[in-house]
Every structure is written in structure tokens, then in C-alpha cells.
């Protein structure tokens, strides 16, 4: 607590005189009080350490090392998560697969947010014909069932990680665009935008420096959820055999490989499945926590 160095004794409730918290400090306070979100954040950090830290020890070579003499072995001291059909270590593969899966999730979310923000911002700020055209495009993209779009696109461009990230972004930016557009429609009417224009601020600055920071809360929340969605989508299309192609491991294609061994070798799907579950669940909790924390209307600290 900062002190007020005057001899006046502060009355009850005078702690309001302490310097007001910045928005970030308030958001962090609210987030910390959200138990599930905090738990989710901790688990998520551990998962990143697992995938990216573990990747330093369990290298890609180790994950792809085939030992046909040790096929389909259950968990043991040598292979804590067991081995797969060609004798690769499942632990090493979940670590390497985690790197790819998490990276796909993050990169796809970033790209999706960038596309969505640009489309939504331009449509919302300029309005009129530009808005109509962009929003019709958005709706056109929305009415195509995204899973089919994903499958067709994956089929066309093949299973490289880069292409999969691009496909995910191109099939999911519409939600972000709509949220951002709605935010811009109301924010641009604010007097501070008029004031910014009246001191000669160029349009690009108005859009990105004055309006965008005001709509950060919903963008951050949808970015978080986009990571989860991308990881799940990767699992879908990999399970259908159209994701990242083996021998590169991802949590998704590990599930695909285990399909014929659901009963005989459950360790093949339990571990990658569990990791996907944990990741998606924690991300959703974090997203929930962020939504509450970043809502400027909720003032309960």
C-alpha cells in the first residue's frame, strides 16, 4: 500500500485513496481468484514444459526410433508409456507430438486472430459497402460445415504442419471477425475517437492504437479458445488420416494409429488422449477466467 504522507488520519474506507489499480492489476486480481482458471493455467504451463522441455531430452530421433523387437509392450521402467506397433517409445512420441500439436494450436490461433481482426476491424470501422462485402464473405465461409472444409482442404494440400496451420486459420477466422466487427461498430462512435481524429491521428492509428486495445478482452478470450479448437481439429483430421503424416508424431495421429488396438494396447490411446483432454480442458478454464477478468464491467476485485 502506498502511503499518503499527510498528517490527516484516514477515515474508514479511505483505502480508496491508495493509488488506483491499473487495468492489468485489476484483471490479474480477478483472474487469480478464479480457481479453475488458475489450475488450468498451472496445468497448461506444465504441459508446455512437458512438451518443449521434455523435447530437449526425448529428441525427435528418439521418438522415431524403431525397435521391432519391442513392439506393443505395456508400460514398463524402460518405456513408462509403453511402445507402439513398431516399437517406438510412446512417452517420447507424446512429448514430440505435444510440441507439434501445441505449436499447431498456437500458430493457428495467432493466424486466425490476425485474419479475423483485420477483416472485422476494416468492416466495422469503414462500414457501408466494405462492411457488407466482408460480412457476406464471412457468412459464406460460416455456412460451409468446417469439418468438411478441413477434410477437403487437407486432402488438397497434404499433411505438412504449415499447411495444416494455414487451413485451420482459414476455416475459423469468421467468429473472430464477427466479434471484432461488433466491437468496432460500437467503439468507433465514442467521443474519444472523434477527439483522436480531431488531433490529426491517421486512420490506421485510430484502428490499431485507439480502437483495437479497447476490444482486447473478447479477442484474448477467443484466441485462447481458438488454441483449444485447433488442437481438437488436429486430432479430428489426424484421426481421419489427413493430418500431419507419420512418422512425425502429433497427439492426433497417435490416436489414429491406436484405433486397431483399443482393447489390446490401451496405452497407445490413453496417454495422447489424456494429454489432449487436459490441454483442451485447461485452455477452456483459462479462457473462462480471462473472460471474467478482462470484462471491464465487472468491478469486483
Amino acid at each position: 500500500m502506498a502511503t499518503v504522507d499527510t498528517p490527516i488520519t484516514l477515515a474508514t474506507g479511505a483505502d480508496a485513496l491508495a493509488p488506483p489499480l491499473t487495468f492489468r492489476q485489476m484483471a490479474w486480481r480477478r483472474f487469480r481468484r478464479h480457481r479453475m482458471a488458475m489450475a488450468g493455467a498451472v496445468i497448461l504451463i506444465l504441459l508446455f514444459v512437458y512438451a518443449f522441455g521434455g523435447g530437449l531430452i526425448f529428441t525427435a530421433e528418439r521418438a522415431n526410433f524403431t525397435d521391432t523387437s519391442a513392439r506393443l509392450q505395456g508400460p514398463s521402467a524402460a518405456h513408462p508409456f509403453g511402445t507402439d506397433t513398431v516399437g517406438r517409445d510412446v512417452l517420447a512420441r507424446t512429448i514430440q507430438g505435444g510440441r507439434i500439436s501445441l505449436m499447431i494450436g498456437l500458430m493457428a490461433a495467432v493466424l486466425e486472430i490476425v485474419i479475423g481482426v483485420v477483416v472485422g476491424a476494416v468492416a466495422g470501422y469503414y462500414g457501408g459497402v466494405v462492411d457488407s462485402l466482408l460480412m457476406r464473405l464471412t457468412e459464406a465461409m460460416l455456412i460451409i460445415p468446417s469439418l468438411f472444409l478441413l477434410i477437403v482442404a487437407a486432402r488438397l494440400v497434404g499433411g505438412s504442419v504449415t499447411w495444416i496451420i494455414i487451413i485451420f486459420a482459414l476455416t475459423s477466422w469468421m467468429y473472430v471477425a464477427r466479434i471484432v466487427r461488433a466491437e468496432f461498430l460500437s467503439l468507433k462512435e465514442n467521443e474519444f475517437i472523434l477527439a483522436a481524429r480531431s488531433i490529426g491521428t491517421p486512420t490506421s492509428q485510430i484502428i490499431f492504437r485507439h480502437i483495437l486495445p479497447n476490444s482486447m478482452a473478447p479477442i484474448v478470450v477467443s484466441a485462447t479458445l481458438a488454441v483449444a479448437t485447433a488442437i481438437l481439429s488436429e486430432a479430428y483430421i489426424s484421426f481421419l488420416g489427413m493430418g500431419v503424416q507419420p512418422p512425425t508424431a502429433t497427439w492426433g495421429n497417435m490416436l489414429d494409429g491406436s484405433y486397431n488396438y483399443i482393447e489390446s494396447a490401451p496405452w497407445l490411446w490413453i496417454f495422447p488422449g489424456l494429454l489432449i483432454l487436459l490441454t483442451v480442458l485447461s485452455i477452456n478454464f483459462v479462457g473462462d477466467g480471462l473472460r471474467d477478468a478482462l470484462d471491464p464491467r465487472s468491478r469486483n476485485v
Binding site: P19, P20, T22, F23, G128, N190, E191, F192, L194, A195, A196, R197, S198, I199, G200, T201, P202, Q205, R209, H210, P213, N214, M216, P296
Partner: protein
Amino acid sequence: MTVYASHSTAAPRPLLLDIRNLQVRFYTPEGTVYAVNDISYKVHEGEVVAVVGESGCGKSVSMMAVLGLIPRPPGEIAGGEALFMGRDLLRLPEDDMQSVRGGDIAMVFQDPMTSLNPVLSVRRQMTESLRRHANMSPEQARDRAVELLELVGIPDAARRLGDYPHQFSGGMRQRVMIAMMLACNPSLLIADEPTTALDVTIQAQIVELVTRMREKLGMALIWITHDLGVVAGLAERVIVMYAGMIVEEADVDSLFDRPRHPYTLALLGALPRVDRRRDSRLNSIPGAPPNLLVEPRGCPFAPRCEYVIERCRVERPPLMPVSPTQRSACWVLAGGEGNN
């Protein structure tokens, strides 16, 4: 003291802004709104002009049109020109306009609670125009911003610079706004009812501040208001607007002593007075302002006017000189007396 611009042979101060026949319309689903109808006036360097009128009479819109801040569509500048130091602002490309706004002309808005961006620190908002218009380095801009905040009377300015708008009170925010607008030494400051959203004591402080700043920096000031009380203490010249037209224009003394338009008379009559009996009711002007959806014909004030004659309903009175420092758009009070 003020010499009336368009009629004096030797204007004491150079012309700064010359608005000629400005017309602004808005195309709305209900029809065309005739917001500003053919107004012309001049502002000289260092002059204080008050624009008075009730809500919706076009006083803010005409200023925003001059600065190119009218949203188009639905707005449209249907005619006229606004010469600022010889350049027509209404036809200036947007790029050039951006250097005029905040550089040569600055505008302070009505509500300080909403005219600062809540998510950007005061420092960022203040240094923005300094860095763009004056090409300052971040450090120079920072120092100048502190200087400006001190100038407008923000205590502990260096520390407050990093604060966010919600950490300032309404009056303080308006001071910050004014500091922002003064940043690049504009030659014209437009104040759009800067005291309306503030309480009375703070209002007086802001009026005082702006007057002091104006004297110090020598800029011209257009003060838009509906408060005639403020006008009396501040302005050299007053422009009275009604229904998107100028109905009277005069130096401040003539306007209060010898108003020559029935609308001005009625406005002055509606002022609360200290010397009136406590239980007497405030005078008001009967009727309502005209519907701007109808293209104006005749005098817009005719339906509410005590002095109305037949001619008022059919023919729009132009601004007619009644003295070297006063013009009025009234067939009865201006047209009748010797000037015709």
C-alpha cells in the same frame, strides 16, 4: 472594441478562418436533415467568437464540417467553402487535413469523461500529436507533455503523466484534453461546449483556464455554447444560430444591450436572473425548434416569433447590417430601421 469584420475598411487583425455559405445535410432513413443552411462568418487571428444556440441548431455540426469530421455518409457538405489561411478546408485531401487537425486547428469536446481513450495512458495520448505534428523524439514529447500538464494546472504533472483517464476527475480530464489540444500551438482552438458536462465551480475554472491560455498563446478561439452567461464574460463577438442559420451576429456588448433579433431577445429573456423574485417562473420561448427534415422556407423562427409579419413566412431574411458591428436576419427588427 471589436471592429466588425466584413464592414470595417481596415481590419485590425488578419483573417484566419472565413466560412462562406456553408451547407451541411444528413441523409437519414427519415429524410434529408438540413443541419446547416448557408452560414457565413469570419474569425480573425486571436479573436474570441462565441457561437450560441440551442441543441440541434447546427453549431457543432458546422465546426465539425470545417474540420472534416462529419461522417460521410450519411453527412454531406452540400456547398460553401471554409478558407483557413487561404486554403479551403472543405476541399483539402484527407492527408493534408490530418496535419491541419491538431496542428493548426484543435477542438475540445463537450464530455471529458468520454473524450479520452480509457485504455491508453495520458502520456500516450498526449505525445501522439506532438510526435506526429512537431516531429519530436519520445523524450522531447514527454518533457513537452509534462510542461503542458503543468501549464493547465495538473499538480504533480510528471507523475500523473503515466496515469490512465479513469484516474482523473472530470475537471482534470478536461484540463488534460485542453493540454492535448494546445500541444502543437494551434492558431485556432474550437471549444465545443467544454463546460457543459462539468459542475459550475469547475466550469468557471475551465473558462478561466482557456481564457488564460488564449492570452498566453495568442490563438483565436471559437467557443460553442448554449450558455449566454459564459458568453458575456468571454467572447468579443457572438454568433447566434437557429435551425442551422445565423440569425444574429454582433459584438458582445451590442448583443446584450441592443439585441436585434427576436430569437436573441427571447434567449436573453429566458436567462435566470439574480434580481428576479424567487418564486417567479423562468421565461421560456413558446413552441419548439423547427423540424430540420423540411427544407427551410421563410424565417425559421417565424412560428415562435412575437413580431412575425407576413413577409417572414415566405421570404428568408438575409443577415442585414444594423450597425457597423451588428447584423441581424430579421425583417422587422433589422430591416425596418433606416438600413433598408
